[in-house]
Symmetry: C2
Subunit: 314 residues, 2 copies
């Protein structure tokens, strides 16, 4: 499929008037695109404008791309008008399978075959969503993280009938558009980030249910503990770097038995040699030859900057 070069995209359609649709609209405007936003009901416009304006304040503070302007936003209640001339479509309709399926059937008919459509869905799979779409090859999931105008993550998955080149195109486009795309190996319920967050959340609910912690204690523990570090270093590299020369291998060999401890209600997988190797090799890949001391120093510089930024923002 000959698609437009992702660098040449100028006009994006954003479908949906909620916080996710509004967040995407603000993000694409801030990156200098022309954006046409589709609202199902004209009555949604004041709230939608408020969402975009609120996001805009932060986006201005972060720095706009050349030519970015709120004036480049068009709002319409006509789906045909919304996608007319669009070179990319970000769909953030309600999380109701029937609604999305009907929408993708229509989009498949009115939108040229080469235009990629990405769904913001957090709970549905593209295999389900694209079922009735006559041109499913160009449909992907492009799931943002809340608030979508600030957090860079976009998780990309494909449905059974999605073409590989549509995934590649979406990844390239999101990166050019200032996001941090992450293509998943397969359709996994909850994707990666939400699954990890959900594991933490369920454990938190267990603690509150058992009287072991209050919501306030949980939030204080996160903000003052793993939170600042997780802003710049994932859990794999946090352990890898903390274990010095031995890295992840030392972590797993030393703390592997702790996986058997009742430190959460989540049973850990068996620490097979294969899993150990995947973790160790994966961390070494990320480290790419950097010495752990250099990575720790980089982590600490980042933490200092974050702790200062938080203190100053208060």
């Amino acid at each position: 499929m000959a698609r437009i070069d992702p660098k040449d995209v100028r006009h994006v359609a954003s479908l949906g008037g909620g916080p996710i649709g509004g967040g995407w609209t603000a993000h694409f405007l801030a990156r200098g695109y022309d954006v046409t936003s589709y609202l199902h009901d004209p009555a949604e416009e004041p709230v939608f404008r408020d969402i975009v304006d609120t996001a805009w304040t932060s986006l201005v503070a972060l720095g706009l791309s050349d030519g970015a302007s709120l004036d480049r936003l068009t709002i319409t209640n006509s789906l045909e008008e919304a996608v007319s001339g669009a070179q990319f479509v970000q769909e953030s309709a309600p999380e109701i399978l029937g609604v999305k399926q009907a929408l993708y059937r229509m989009l498949g008919e009115i939108l040229p075959d080469d235009v990629v459509i990405a769904s913001s869905t957090s709970g549905l799979t593209m295999t389900e969503i694209q079922r009735d779409c006559p041109t499913p090859e160009r449909t992907v999931v492009g799931h943002p993280f809340n608030p979508p105008y600030l957090l860079p993550l976009v998780e990309i998955t494909s449905g059974d009938r999605t073409a590989v080149d549509a995934v590649d195109w979406a990844e390239a486009f999101y990166r050019i558009a200032g996001k941090a795309p992450l293509v998943l190996n397969r359709e996994i319920p909850g994707f990666i980030a939400t699954r990890l967050q959900e594991a933490l959340w369920r454990e938190a609910l267990h603690m509150v249910a058992n009287g072991e912690a209050t919501p306030e204690q949980i939030d204080l523990a996160l903000i003052n503990g793993p939170g600042p570090r997780m802003a710049l270093m994932g859990q794999c590299m946090a352990f890898h770097v903390a274990c010095g020369e031995g890295g992840m291998a030392t972590n797993l060999d030393q703390f592997g038995p702790a996986l058997k401890l009742p430190w959460t209600r989540l049973e850990a997988p068996e620490l097979t040699k294969e899993l150990r190797d995947r973790m160790v090799d994966g961390c070494n890949d990320i480290a790419a030859g950097r010495h752990f001391k250099d990575m720790a120093a980089e982590r600490d510089r980042g933490l200092v900057a974050i702790l200062k930024a938080i203190a100053e923002a208060k």
Copy 2:
């Protein structure tokens, strides 16, 4: 028990030459205390000095307290000398129960009864550690988060024979000493922060074991997704604020059914009315009457500052 006013503490003993003991030493020095550090073996000194020096670089960048100086560090291999004159003892000995029990027996004999001793233990309980201590009333757990010289969290728990006033004293002292103390309701394995982190970690290991994600994908998902937000807002308030007027109540009522979905391998607790109320009341307590829009704006200001800080630190 008449203890010294936490504000009047000038001299701290830090026991242990590893990364945790060294991190505590650097932290207390940066806050302007005289610190005597006990190393079991004189041969540990070069590595220990390196740990302290490395931490110092970050602490200088964050800003030292008046009079803070590396010159106020004394290193000794005599336990008696280390605790002589100390008004607070932070113990970071190896995580071996027998070693800690023997140490607390000795400390209980040579240290005046009114001096609080806090253990950095991450995996043992104070009930076990204090077993052979003749003066267990003043012993608490004061568990830091890695790296201990930068992350503010200190989780405080007591053993069966710990006096309540020792816990209160430790909480007050840590706060004065620039930490974010969190007193736990009870001795819970893994405390709060490590349990939450461990739930996330186990889910991550499941993903890698199943070929659903690589360590690199996991880390990218965290850094670009929940990470920056978790540096300033815990998971409870993140959901509370994201749900607008309805807050946590809306979150639980709307997404409660999602707790039944296989979005992690951790089974969620039953969402009873009691749990729902605890979550909702807890979030309302934290919000303390602030409007969700104000809290969202504060979150966004913080996120902008963090994202800028991360970009500049790179």
